[in-house]
């Protein structure tokens, strides 16, 4: 049992922190978010060179074969600066391929992902953005030896740009993942005018898209893919929450009113202490979930839901208080507080909101039937 990073993990954290510090910053993040792609390809190239696209890809497919702890380390670092990149979307897609793909599918796509030649994403929900199996709005039907895909998907991270989309679709009522490469006829993508302006999400349309039989994966891993998505997103949120707190603490030390730094007033001090509680709780929950992913799969569903719940609480509250304790300046467009605030709201609902996460936890403690009507 150990609660500290290995030397390798510490090195990864240091390198990630450096990369993000060098490429983050308000202007760069805003410009990247507002660009057509939604991120800076040069920054992504740097991440690829540092091996981030290969972290969760098995060594057999040219990856690093590392775990959720390592993925969470880089996600948290990127989250601190809200640095846009296809890291999250691509890592979750890679996870989906590892979990549900056939060996042939894995051999086809994962080496390209590991090498940074291909970005990928997952399409897990309809346009309403809920994540119960019933909310999946893409449908597969058999057509000769293969299939056709119809319907739509919402809130697809980098969905207008990613080279490969792992789509959750219903086949005879069961959810299956299918790998749809960009450019497939009948696939349309429209970037959404999202509340979050530091990352891109798209609405996808599937209009009679041809899906060869060998593009359909095994079923039954929908909840698992969601859990990995949430565990990784939670790491990002935790990083963002910690940054929002740190920036606010720094401001409270410098901003003088009534002859002393506002951070010397108990009202401010105690509010910031309460935020520290949330950040520390998120930190504990995120690393616990990451460790479970790698070492205790039987606890992972609950741990991932817990991490998402705690990290959402932290980013939502820290960013709201970031605005407030900066005063008028914090309410301006030029200040970054609203970027964190926007990320707080959108990330809390992405891959399943607090109700969805508490439902998973309730299931784990035997309250499953009782909370069905709460979902």
């Amino acid at each position: 049992m150990s609660f500290i990073f290995t030397d390798e993990q510490t090195m990864l954290l240091d390198a990630a922190t450096r990369l993000v510090e060098e490429n983050g910053g308000s202007a760069a993040v805003r410009a990247a978010g507002a660009s057509d792609r939604g991120y800076d390809a040069a920054v992504w190239q740097q991440m690829v060179e540092m091996g981030w696209s290969a972290i969760v890809v098995p060594e057999a497919q040219g990856g690093l074969g590392l775990g959720q702890v390592e993925l969470s380390i880089v996600a948290a670092a990127a989250g601190r600066a809200l640095l846009p990149s296809p890291l999250l979307s691509t890592a979750i897609a890679a996870r989906a391929l590892v979990l549900a793909g056939t060996p042939a599918q894995q051999d086809r796509w994962l080496p390209q992902i590991a090498a940074g030649e291909l970005t990928a994403t997952v399409a897990l929900t309809g346009v309403e953005g809920c994540y119960r199996p019933g909310d999946v709005a893409a449908t597969l039907r058999t057509d000769g030896d293969g299939y056709r895909l119809d319907g739509s998907a919402g809130f697809v991270l980098d969905g207008h740009d990613a080279g490969l989309i792992i789509v959750a679709a219903k086949l005879d009522g069961e959810i299956r993942f299918v790998a749809v490469p960009r450019g497939e006829a009948g696939l349309s993508a429209e970037r959404l005018p999202w509340l979050d302006i530091t990352r891109a999400a798209a609405r996808l349309g599937f209009d009679n898209v041809t899906v060869p039989a060998d593009a359909v994966m095994a079923g039954g891993r929908f909840a698992d893919v969601l859990a990995f998505a949430n565990a990784t997103l939670a790491a990002e949120q935790m990083g963002a929450a910690a940054a929002a707190l740190d920036i606010t603490v720094d401001y409270a030390k410098q901003r003088v009113q009534f002859g002393q730094p506002i951070g010397a007033f108990q009202a401010v001090k105690h509010a910031l202490a309460d935020l520290a509680l949330l950040v520390e709780a998120a930190t504990s929950a995120v690393w616990y979930a990451a460790a479970c992913a790698d070492q205790r799969p039987e606890e992972f569903a609950e741990a991932a839901a817990t991490a998402k719940l705690m990290a959402s609480d932290a980013i939502v509250k820290c960013s709201a208080d970031m605005i407030h304790y900066h005063g008028g300046i914090g309410y301006t467009w030029e200040h970054d507080a609203h970027l964190y605030f926007r990320r707080g709201r959108t990330s809390a609902s992405l891959f399943g909101d607090a109700d969805a996460q508490t439902k998973i936890i309730a299931d784990a403690i035997g309250l499953g039937a009782e909370t069905n009507d709460a979902a």
């Binding site: 346009v127 309403e128 953005g129 809920c130 919402g154 809130f155 959404l192 005018p193 999202w194 509340l195 979050d196 003088v256 009113q257 009534f258 002859g259 002393q260 506002i262 010397a264 007033f265 009202a267 401010v268 709201a320 605005i323 407030h324 005063g327 008028g328 914090g330 309410y331 301006t332 467009w333 030029e334 200040h335 507080a337 609203h338 605030f341 709201r345 959108t346 609902s349 992405l350 909101d353 109700d355 009507d373 709460a374």
Partner: protein
């Protein structure tokens, strides 16, 4: 403890309603479409001037200043009917609710003669120039300076400094500015309240883009701006007293109009919740019911505050209460919309409610932060001791 209105009051209500309905189904029909506090200024000013010419803006004012001397209940009725009509809030709010009462209370006859009528008729739009980059919660820390200088036409105040967070200053012709007129003075001493023309040289007004995208607030740079020596409100050096007077006018009858705006927002959210099925989520339904309960409570608190005499504890708590309520309403609106609310297509429910959600974040900052409000409630309302001097 009576809830009903007299027949005379009900007749007044009918008069207001009839007038508003006529205007809003006629010449000003388009005005109901305008949403958000920073939209449609070019259509709103003619409407507000129209209200002023009809006497509604100055309803409660003394007859000597063109008012109707309406009592509290008539004011309550007007604000209720106005909000119910769906017409937008006032861009001329600062002039009508803050500057005009200050001029009435502290101005001399000449100033009242000169400014009140055009203010009521929205020929003058006013900006409040109190806050500065280093004088936010700590308002007494004003650094903008004014000194008297001789000019051919007589003495003038010459101003140097920077004001910030001035609502609608980009539309204003005049500003009411709290400035330091005694060199070397600190804190609340040595300040004066000057009325300054904003369309003159030495004044640079720059709108601030707020996090919701719109621009209601401005920075105002004063670099040799001038105003006649006579344009001081109250005596020179008594600016702090005048400013404190202004701030007490913030909790006037217009809070009832604000509440009707809240009512419209809650009704909008209720409609969406029923339409999209969010109301079937028991947690959402409970929060909607609670929002309803608290809004009703707020209304009665406002009536207690306005109907009582002097500064009541209810009055002191009012701003903090609605701030917290409105920010929670913003969150509830987003939860009612669900993730779809994150996608804001202009004109949609999501667009309007998302804007409200974002804009509500400023409530806890302006007009005294929630921390300042709690200090005031505790010290003035509960009589708790001030902190040790070093900590103020």
């Amino acid at each position: 403890m009576r809830l009903d209105f007299t027949p005379e009051q009900e007749a007044f209500r009918a008069e207001v309603r009839t007038w508003l309905d006529a205007q809003l189904s006629g010449e000003f029909a388009h005005i109901r479409e305008i949403q958000g506090i920073s939209e449609g200024a070019e259509q709103r000013f003619p409407w507000e001037r129209h209200l002023g010419r009809a006497g509604w803006n100055q309803l409660s004012w003394p007859k000597a200043f063109g008012g109707r001397e309406a009592n509290l209940f008539e004011q309550v009725i007007f604000h209720e009917e106005y909000a119910r009509s769906g017409a937008p809030g006032r861009l001329s709010h600062v002039g009508l609710e803050l500057v005009a009462p200050t001029i009435m209370a502290f101005g001399n006859d000449e100033q009242r003669q000169r400014f009140l009528k055009p203010t009521a008729e929205v020929e003058i739009i006013w900006a409040q120039l109190f806050s500065e980059p280093n004088a936010g919660s700590d308002l007494a820390n004003v650094q903008t300076r004014a000194r008297l200088e001789d000019r051919p036409g007589g003495q003038v105040w010459v101003l140097e400094g920077q004001k910030i967070w001035s609502s609608f200053a980009q539309y204003s012709q005049w500003g009411m500015a709290l400035v330091r007129t005694e060199p070397g003075s600190v804190g609340s001493k040595g300040l004066s309240m000057l009325l300054i023309p904003l369309d003159a040289k030495g004044v640079d007004i720059r709108p601030i883009r707020q996090m919701s995208g719109g621009s209601s607030f401005n920075e105002v740079f004063l670099d040799g701006a001038e105003t006649a020596a006579a344009n001081v409100l109250g005596a020179a050096g008594e600016g702090w007293k005048v400013a404190m007077g202004t701030l007490t006018f913030e909790r006037g009858v217009s809070t009832l109009g604000q509440q009707m705006g809240f009512r419209n927002e809650l009704d909008h959210i209720l409609r969406v919740a029923k339409e999209n099925g969010a109301a079937r989520n028991p947690g959402i339904a409970k929060r909607l019911a609670r929002a309803q309960a608290e809004l009703r409570t707020m209304r009665y608190t406002a009536l207690r505050m306005l109907g009582g005499s002097g500064l009541s504890l209810a009055g002191l708590t009012y701003k903090l209460y609605y701030t917290s309520w409105h920010q929670r309403l913003g969150e509830l609106a987003m939860d009612v919309l669900g993730p779809a609310g994150e996608i804001a297509v202009p004109g949609s429910d999501a667009y309007r409610l998302q804007k409200m959600y974002l804009e509500s974040r400023s409530d806890s900052i302006w007009a005294g932060t929630s921390q300042i409000q709690r200090n005031i409630i505790a010290e003035r309302g509960l009589g708790l001791p001030r902190e040790g001097k070093a900590a103020r």
